[in-house]
């Protein structure tokens, strides 16, 4: 799966780190880093993290690989 975190929006509440610590990490007190293309097995965890984000900064893809339709 694919995600992106709008880090302008992120305020370091770290709810995502509690809910999916294999995907989201804090570097220090506030700087969030994350795995942008986590394993599909983590989807439920990541969706919970996105739902729990107080500023709704986590964007999850809405398409499967098939639907992206790259031709090259």
């Amino acid at each position: 799966m694919r995600i992106v975190v709008d880090l302008n929006r992120c305020q370091g509440y770290a709810q995502c780190v509690y809910l999916a610590h294999e995907v989201f990490r804090l570097n220090g007190q506030e700087a969030l880093t994350y795995e942008p293309n986590p394993d599909d097995q983590r989807r439920l965890q990541v969706e919970r993290a996105a739902a729990a984000c107080p500023v709704q900064a986590i964007v999850i893809d809405r398409l499967d690989g098939e639907e992206r339709g790259e031709t090259s």
Partner: protein, 467 residues
């Protein structure tokens, strides 16, 4: 049929069967494509990108990818919806003919358009000596391939990394090196790291931050030359003070160059500063007249900004790519009075040395700075930038929750020094000079000059300066 009905019919027809070409297949290009489809555009959509990869996110490259946590190919951007596009990846656009409305590709092909979006972004400025730049171990970092190669070399690990230039990218690379326990020397021509973006007062704090994390930071110096071994691998650098730094990995982080060369001869207002456009993303021609069929978004766009005395601003920021692309795409399939402006309050972030540095507004627009919250000693603070009694920007170190407060003040032309939010105030809240470097340094940039005398013959032309 009334004129109004005819125009409405034209818009309908264009949305149904027009041809849109997007040049640039990164964040701005992708979000523009998605917005076009979201707006009901069902015509043909072609996306041209010089890299062979589908759109990926760049900010992780200099952070979690370099550190070795996330593979470089794990940065593919999530998709908001299907775009049903003809993706032309791995082939660069090399020319634009506005008369015949065609984009020329590097393989000689011509791609016709009715409306065009320019989202070609920027590239890393290379080390200026080509022979030295070609040494193995000498890097820049902008693309997936750049990050992948540099990460491999950092993993070996090198005996020392030399970072040339202490802007955001250079500072982030130095931070990753220290996290990996690799010795690193940072050479910066200016007086401090981040001085161009945030000024000397914040730069001094960033300098201390680097030194506290073991960075060998040398400011006010340049690199005179890079030297390789007999195998063509970089081994040492000579600095402008004559000193030598032994390093087997060199990262040149010298800022970016806008990808406008392919527009040469197109008659657009394109130059070293990017492609001029209005706040709705409509490109200006070389005379400053707005075009109807060409739009610009992302790092390469430069538009007048209502909050900054209508000065033209280029914003190489993530949210500028997203929101500028959305506005431009909307305007590509609408007509007046349905145009939408891209009125972004610029913002960026940078994670380095365990500190989250964030900003809103345009700090270099300010000439004064005041610390408004927190503690500089603890590196947890907010500071505001002012210009002529007005707040124009703010920066935070591990204080991001407060940026929104300052952002609102900036949007409403609030006073400087700003009213403190009434919490966590430092003892001394006296404004001081923000210490930005003088921007009037001579550089090899082209001039725009007016030529000709008769009003009909009055036109602008570019005259590159050659030094």
């Amino acid at each position: 049929m009334t004129l109004r009905a005819t125009v409405a019919e034209l818009v309908r027809e264009f949305r149904a069967s027009g041809r849109i070409v997007i040049v640039g297949a990164s964040l701005a290009g992708l979000r523009a494509a998605e917005t076009l489809r979201e707006e009901g555009f069902t015509g043909s959509l072609t996306i041209i990108g010089d890299e062979p990869y589908e759109p990926y996110d760049r900010p992780p490259l200099s952070k979690q990818v370099l550190k070795g946590w996330v593979p470089a190919d794990h940065t593919k951007l999530p998709r908001m919806r299907e775009v049903d596009a003809d993706w032309r990846l791995g082939v660069a656009a090399v020319g634009l003919d506005r008369a015949t409305k065609q984009v020329r590709l590097a393989n000689g092909e011509q791609v016709p358009y009715d409306r065009l979006l320019i989202a070609t972004g920027t590239r890393a400025r290379q080390w200026p000596n080509p022979a030295e730049a070609a040494l193995r171990g000498v890097h820049t970092i902008r693309s997936r391939d750049d990050a992948e190669q540099l990460q491999k070399e950092l993993a070996e690990p090198p005996s020392r990394v030399l970072v040339i230039g202490a802007g955001f990218i250079g500072s982030e690379v130095a931070s990753v090196c220290r996290e990996l326990d690799i010795p690193v020397t940072v050479v910066e021509r200016g007086s401090a790291p981040l001085v161009g973006a945030l000024g000397g007062v914040i730069g001094a704090i960033a300098a201390q931050l680097q030194r506290d994390h073991g960075v060998d930071l040398r400011c006010g110096l340049g690199v005179s030359s890079l030297e390789g071994d007999s195998g063509g691998h970089v081994r040492r650098a000579q600095l402008s003070d004559g000193s030598i730094v032994d390093a087997d990995v060199v990262v040149a982080s010298l800022g970016s160059i806008r990808n406008v060369e392919w527009l040469e001869g197109s008659g657009l207002a394109a130059g070293f500063w990017g492609v001029g456009c209005d706040a709705g993303g409509r490109a200006f021609d070389i005379n400053g007249v707005v075009t109807d069929s060409i739009f610009v978004a992302g790092d390469v766009a430069r538009a007048p900004h209502v909050l900054y005395e209508y000065q033209f601003l280029a914003m190489e920021h993530w949210d500028n790519a997203v929101l500028g692309a959305e506005a431009a795409a909307h305007n590509m399939v609408n007509l007046e009075p349905d145009y939408r402006p891209h009125l972004l309050l610029p913002g960026f972030w940078s994670g380095q040395f365990g500190v989250n540095i964030k900003s809103v507004g345009v700090p270099p627009f300010g000439d004064e700075i005041v610390f408004t919250q927190g503690s500089v000693e603890e590196r947890r603070f907010a500071a505001a930038y002012g210009h002529r009694g007005r707040i124009v920007a703010a920066v935070t170190f591990d204080h991001g929750k407060w940026l929104e407060y300052y952002g609102k003040l900036i949007e409403h032309s609030g006073p400087f020094p700003p009213p403190p939010p009434g919490w966590d105030q430092p003892p001394d809240m006296k404004p001081m000079p923000a210490e930005f470097p003088d921007p009037r340094v001579p550089t090899a940039i082209p001039d725009v000059v007016l030529t000709g005398h008769a009003p009909s013959g009055r036109t602008a032309e570019f005259r590159p300066r050659h030094h």
